[in-house]
């Protein structure tokens, strides 16, 4: 049990660090990072950076070399992640393509499609989005209704997707549709990729409770997709989706926002009831609880990385992380605002102001407990997939999709 690299790992880490050192600036403090003036600018900067990675062989570490990847081991990816986090580099925009669409294309697309789409994905030239969730199909994703009808060699798509990050700047999308509403729920789905500039695709931003808009609704009105852009067999869309979803759960990471260290620092500089907050027993006990949770998540991650590096399947760490850190963030956000008493609700224009940080966490926590699987769905997953407990009773089992109750009517 140690925190040190093996010889090989150390060699890889050195190589990564040196390349990064030569091509990017080190962060100057924990709050330092890449900042872009706008989304457009950020996107441009990511494309430039990704191309640089690609040219030097650092793009898409887990991809096969033939498509522009590096064929790295899981532990190398972790080390790369640790090293790159020390540097100020642009990020975002590419995860869905490289993490979700790419792997699906590799499994189901034709050779020509792979040759056409994967290298631009790896170079960051083309941006992808994921069109899965629907207003009526969130936790129950397989309840999606967006309709696809085949006529000749062309599919016609009608329906609505929701929670699509980046739809407004994406070039391509992966899409699951219901091609046969009379088949059993998981059997009548078909999976495609499509050009987001296709006629009939309309993207509308969703305003979130924080006022920001990181997601979109996407409406499909008689959108045409050639059958050649189908991934997997007709009716096999659920199976194809599962490949993609595995990757999503891993991608939803820590809740960003104030954590133990921020709350600890606040308590050490802030009065409560006439004396320093850190001297208050209640503050100390809460901080201790959060420290133990944070520390537990950190070392669970290390255990997971160790399992990866031994070639074992990692545990359900990401589900645990999301449940624990989402709820912790909600508590810490309330704690921080409470500690500033009546002034805790004041809005500041400075993103680094204490209030802004806790308020951001206040909104963010509400979202994190839902996005990518609610607390409740994740606890179901832990109990079923890790502990081997039975599924909930199913009201939708063994009946055609269009006979499954979907409202009280």
């Amino acid at each position: 049990m140690d925190f040190n690299d093996t010889t090989e790992e150390a060699k890889f880490r050195k190589e990564a660090y040196e390349w990064l050192k030569a091509n990017a600036d080190l962060k100057e403090g924990p709050k330092d990072g890449w900042r872009s003036a706008s989304e457009e600018e950020g996107l441009e900067q990511v494309k430039v950076w990704q191309n640089k990675l690609y040219e030097s062989g650092w793009a898409c570490m887990h991809w096969p070399k033939e498509f522009g990847g590096r064929e790295s081991t899981p532990i190398e990816r972790v080390i790369w992640g640790q090293e790159i986090s020390k540097f100020k580099v642009p990020g975002g925009y590419l995860e869905i393509g490289q993490g979700m669409a790419g792997p699906v294309m590799m499994m189901y697309a034709t050779e020509e499609q792979k040759a056409r789409h994967l290298p631009p994905m790896a170079r960051g030239e083309e941006i992808w989005c994921q069109l899965f969730s629907e207003p009526g199909a969130g936790s129950d994703l397989a309840g999606l209704k967006t309709k696809s009808v085949l006529e000749g060699d062309t599919w016609t798509i009608n329906g609505q997707k929701i929670w699509t990050s980046g739809a407004h700047f994406s070039d391509w999308g992966i899409l699951v549709t219901r091609s046969d509403p009379t088949a059993h729920k998981h059997k009548g789905l078909t999976y495609f990729f499509l050009d987001m500039k296709s006629p009939g695709v309309e993207v509308r931003p969703i305003k979130q409770i924080s006022g920001g808009a990181n997601f979109n609704e996407v409406y499909f009105t008689d959108v045409k997709i050639p059958d050649s852009q189908r991934l997997g067999a007709v009716g096999d869309g659920w199976k194809v989706s599962l490949t993609t979803l595995m990757n999503e759960r891993l991608a939803v990471g820590d809740a960003s926002g104030p954590d133990f260290q921020e709350a600890f620092t606040l308590a050490r500089g802030q009065d409560l009831n006439g004396s320093l907050a850190i001297e208050n027993g209640a503050v100390r006990e809460k901080l201790a609880d959060w420290y133990c949770q944070q520390s537990g998540l950190k070392f669970a991650k290390y255990r997971n990385i160790s399992a990866l590096s031994r070639g074992e399947t990692p545990g359900p760490q990401s589900s645990i992380t999301k449940i624990v850190s989402g709820n912790k963030l909600q508590e810490i956000a309330n704690f921080g605002m409470d500690l500033m008493d009546s002034a805790g609700i004041l809005r500041s224009d400075e993103p680094d102001a204490d209030q802004s940080m806790y308020q951001y966490g206040f909104y963010g926590a509400a979202g994190i407990r839902i996005a990518g699987g609610t607390d409740e769905i994740l606890k179901n997953i832990i109990s079923e997939q890790v502990l081997g407990m039975p599924q909930d009773m199913r009201a939708d089992k063994g009946i055609p999709f269009n006979e499954i109750p979907s409202s009280n009517k």
Partner: protein, 370 residues
């Protein structure tokens, strides 16, 4: 024994509820949240016409001369409907300060207009990012002129006058300042709940009128805060119950996996937990209402109990309401976030949960002197 509001009080509550529903109070809260106005002037005027602002003011000052139990049921409905008005500042605080501590002349000057709602008062107390104490108040009064800054004053930008805490010598006293007078600068402040307006007040030699005797200022303040805490608790209770009702309503109609999500135990038990929190809060609020209306010696204990309990219930219900809604609860379009925000605004308004828990135990220590 009858630990329930009277038939008349329940009727009043029902009237208030229907009135606020008819006037689309929640929609108005959203409009204020999304717009540029500080509060809904029309709704405020209608509330005045309904006589809600006059509830606990004696008839001789043009009030209705009803009691605090009546004010409690109105507060609950205002909380349920998120009414975007300066009601709490003007009625639970400014009016109470004048009723309890004002001279006869001040009462005659101010109360009739407060009763009609034509005058709006507020209370300015907080000066920094920590709870105000007898030591850390730094606004100063000398020769009846006040200097200093109050950084977060609810309705500070819409009120006509404010009650303010300040030091004269070593004592914290209570003063009334006309906000239209010289030496007052008002700066709008944005908060996480824009459906309620806030401002900071900068006093540069503004004129003050002293309220009550200076050396009892701090004790008087505590008493008024206790009284207000009960009324705030009823607003919180109303908000908590509204959030619970929203969650239930949504869960009943939302289907997943072929059935209403209200049939899943995770959701059922979440709602049961909300219900329990609301029932405990309601029962404690009734205790607070009784103590407030009878000026009982237990007021400090009862007020802190209702405040703590109602804050907890609103927190639980407003956050789990979003959770029950899933992704929809996270959208601007749904009303969940209005309650989530208001929950924080009300929790901050007269001091944090830690402070009220501490007050509760202190008052129990006093009541149980060893």
């Amino acid at each position: 024994m009858n630990f329930e509001f009277s038939a008349e009080q329940i009727q009043l509550k029902d009237i208030a509820r229907k009135f606020l529903e008819k006037e689309d109070s929640v929609k108005r809260a959203r409009a204020v949240l999304e717009g540029e106005t500080s509060y809904d002037e029309e709704l405020w005027k209608l509330i005045g016409e309904m006589g809600f602002t006059a509830t606990a003011i004696p008839e001789k000052y043009d009030g209705l001369g009803l009691g605090y139990l009546e004010l409690c049921v109105i507060a609950e409905e205002l909380g349920r409907s998120l009414a975007p008005t300066p009601f709490s500042s003007s009625v639970y605080l400014a009016t109470e300060f004048l009723l309890k501590l004002g001279s006869e002349e001040m009462k005659q000057n101010y109360l009739p207009k407060l009763a009609s709602g034509s005058l709006i008062g507020t209370f300015a107390h907080t000066e920094g990012n920590t709870s105000p104490t007898e030591e850390n108040i730094s606004c100063e009064v000398k020769d009846n002129l006040i200097n200093g800054i109050k950084i977060v004053v609810p309705d500070g930008d819409v009120a006509d006058f404010t009650i303010v805490t300040a030091k004269e010598g070593n004592d914290v006293g209570l003063y009334l300042v006309d906000l239209n007078s010289d030496g007052v600068e008002i700066v709008n402040q944005q908060t996480l709940d824009p459906s309620r307006s806030h401002a900071s007040l900068i006093f540069k030699g503004a004129k003050t009128i002293t309220l009550g005797s200076a050396n009892e200022g701090w004790d008087n303040l505590q008493n008024i805060l206790d009284r207000a805490a009960v009324l705030f608790a009823f607003e919180q209770l109303g908000g908590a119950e509204a959030s619970m009702d929203m969650a239930k309503e949504y869960a009943m109609g939302r289907f997943a996996f072929g059935r209403s999500i209200a049939s899943f135990q995770a959701i059922k038990h979440k709602l049961a937990d909300m219900y329990i929190a609301v029932e405990l809060a309601r029962s404690n609020c009734y205790y607070g209402a009784w103590a407030l209306s009878t000026d009982a010696p237990e007021l400090a204990t009862a007020a802190a109990t209702s405040r703590v309990s109602a804050s907890q219930a609103f927190n639980e219900c407003s956050k789990e309401n979003i959770q029950t809604h899933g992704g929809m609860g996270f959208t601007w379009e749904f009303d969940c976030h209005l309650y989530y925000r208001r929950c924080r605004q009300l929790a901050a308004n007269i001091g944090s949960q830690s402070i009220w828990k501490d007050k509760l135990i202190s008052s129990l220590e006093r009541a149980n002197q060893l």
